[in-house]
Structure formats: structure tokens, C-alpha cells
């Protein structure tokens, strides 16, 4: 079934239909989530209104990890099954994942300063997210450095899989080490520990950012496919003349 979607022609037709819908859903969810997060959700009883940073910081952190996990899955698919769209998908996710990781780091610093009294601490969670950001940058640099697309795709896929070892470290760093960063409060085996009045707007904002990220990835994948078509057309012309 997945190999059916790996057909670039089919992907272009499907993504052209999906893109406006996903973008529209993202805008609608932001229209609901933003006033909820900034105005209607109650302030935290300890952190007061500074806790509203959570509604952008947490979705950015989730997306930073989810997009990297998506890149790793696409890299496996590219290396093992050589799916036509796998390396395109991984490459499209990288700049968006890097941007969300940067948002996570900066909003984390903006939240950390009033709560911890420091913009940055070399805590296991913060450091592992910084490493994730550098892995994203390395992946993008590798694609930019190697001209031959087949070689670049293979090298980038290997780097992505090596970097994937950092994902469980990011996720479980708060459990494995004593960190200043708080432990997970949503994705827990015993259920979320957050009050629904804070959890619901967080989930709406997370869904909104996820739809926005999905739309961005689809648009970026379409760009790479269109460019590939243009390049192969140029090459065919050169060979013919």
C-alpha cells in the first residue's frame, strides 16, 4: 500500500488536493487555540502567566522529535526499499524540523529565565535537544555539500539513522538523570498529570502546529519533485542535442 503512495505522479495529485485542506485545518485550529492559550486558559497556580509559553514550546518540542523520527523512518525506507519518495520526504522534513527545534530551544530559554533564573543550563534534556539541533544542521549541510543526489541521499540517510540514537535520550533524559527540566506530564504510562483546563488548549495548539508542519512538508516535497522533473527534462534535452 505504501509503495502505491511512493509513486511521484500519484503523490503530486494527492498532495495538490490535500494541501489546501490541511492548511485550512491548521488555520482554523490556530483561530481556536490561540485565544484559548493566551486568554481563556487559566494561569498556572505556581508559574502564573509565564506558563502560557508552554502552548508554543511543547508543540515545537514534540514536532522537533516527531519530524526527526519521520526522517529516520524515511531514511530506512530509502536505504532498504529505495522508495522513490523516501529521500524526498526526509529531505523535506529536515529544515522544518530544524526550525521547530530552534523554536523549542529559544522558547525554552524564554521560559527558563523567569522560572529557573537562567537562560540556559547544561541539563540532560536541554543538552540532548541542542545535540538534536546540531544533527539537523549536519544533515542539511551534508545534502548541500554533496552534488550527486544519489550519494547525498545515502550519506544523509546514514547520518540520520546515527543521529536517531539521540531521540530516546531526549525523551527519557528527564527520567534517567536528575534534571532541572520537569518530567513528562502528557505522554505518560499512567495518563496525563495536567489539569484538563491546561491540557485541552495544549492539545489544540499541538494539533494546529502538526497540521501546519504537515502542510509545509507536503509543499517542500512537491518543490523537490518539480525540481527533479525540471532537471531530468534539461538532461534529456542536452542528450538529444
Amino acid at each position: 500500500m505504501i509503495s502505491g503512495f511512493a509513486n511521484p505522479e500519484r503523490f503530486m495529485r494527492l498532495s495538490a488536493k490535500l494541501l489546501p485542506w490541511i492548511s485550512g485545518v491548521a488555520v482554523a485550529l490556530f483561530a481556536v487555540g490561540l485565544p484559548w492559550a493566551l486568554y481563556f486558559a487559566p494561569p498556572d497556580y505556581q508559574q502564573h502567566d509565564s506558563a502560557r509559553i508552554m502552548y508554543v514550546h511543547v508543540p515545537a518540542a514534540w514536532l522537533a522529535m516527531a519530524l526527526y523520527a519521520g526522517m529516520a523512518a524515511a531514511s530506512v525506507s530509502s536505504l532498504v526499499w529505495r522508495h522513490a519518495l523516501a529521500d524526498v520526504a526526509a529531505r523535506a522534513m529536515a529544515p522544518i524540523g530544524a526550525a521547530f527545534t530552534a523554536v523549542c530551544l529559544v522558547t525554552g530559554a524564554l521560559w527558563g529565565q523567569p522560572m529557573w533564573g537562567a537562560w540556559w543550563v547544561w541539563d540532560a534534556r536541554l543538552t540532548s535537544v541542542l545535540v538534536l539541533f546540531f544533527v539537523y544542521l549536519g544533515y542539511l549541510a551534508l545534502w548541500a555539500a554533496i552534488e550527486d543526489e544519489t550519494r547525498a541521499s545515502r550519506a544523509a540517510a546514514i547520518l540520520c539513522l546515527v543521529g536517531a540514537a539521540n531521540l530516546p535520550i531526549v525523551k527519557f533524559s528527564v527520567d534517567w538523570w536528575n534534571t532541572l527540566h520537569q518530567p513528562a506530564s502528557v505522554f505518560r504510562a499512567d495518563g496525563p498529570t495536567m489539569h484538563p483546563s491546561l491540557l485541552h488548549p495544549l492539545l489544540v495548539m499541538a494539533l494546529a502546529f502538526t497540521c501546519a508542519a504537515a502542510a509545509l512538508v507536503l509543499a517542500e516535497m512537491r518543490v523537490f519533485i518539480l525540481r527533479r522533473r525540471a532537471e531530468s527534462l534539461t538532461l534529456r534535452r542536452r542528450r538529444a542535442t
Binding site: F100, A102, Q113, V223, R227
Partner: protein, 59 residues
């Protein structure tokens, strides 16, 4: 609490955390808007380039 365009001034003050809350939202939404604009421009350029190539090669 004075009304400022319908919203209380305490809303903009964010309980004294305005300098941390507002830049966080500005950054997050600024990044999403920039990425969307970049994707839209790149998509438009790629479509235009392909259309030009197909037109040039048409019999």
C-alpha cells in the same frame, strides 16, 4: 485594569511576564509564517521553471 481595545491591560502585561511570553509567540508564529512563505515562493518558482522547460520543448 483599564480596557485597551476591549482587552484588559493585565492581558498584555501577562502578570509581569510579557517580555517572555510575547516574544515566544512572535518567534513561533514568525517561523511558521516564514517557512510557509518560503515554501510558497519555492513552489511557485519550481512550477514556473518546469512550465518554461515544457513550453520550450513543445513542438
Amino acid at each position: 485594569m483599564t480596557a485597551d481595545r476591549g482587552l484588559p491591560s493585565s492581558f498584555w502585561a501577562m502578570d509581569g511576564y510579557a517580555w517572555f511570553v510575547w516574544p515566544s509567540y512572535a518567534l513561533a508564529f514568525g517561523v511558521v509564517i516564514l517557512l510557509a512563505a518560503r515554501a510558497w515562493m519555492r513552489h511557485r518558482d519550481a512550477q514556473r521553471r518546469l512550465a518554461e522547460l515544457e513550453r520550450d520543448g513543445a513542438p
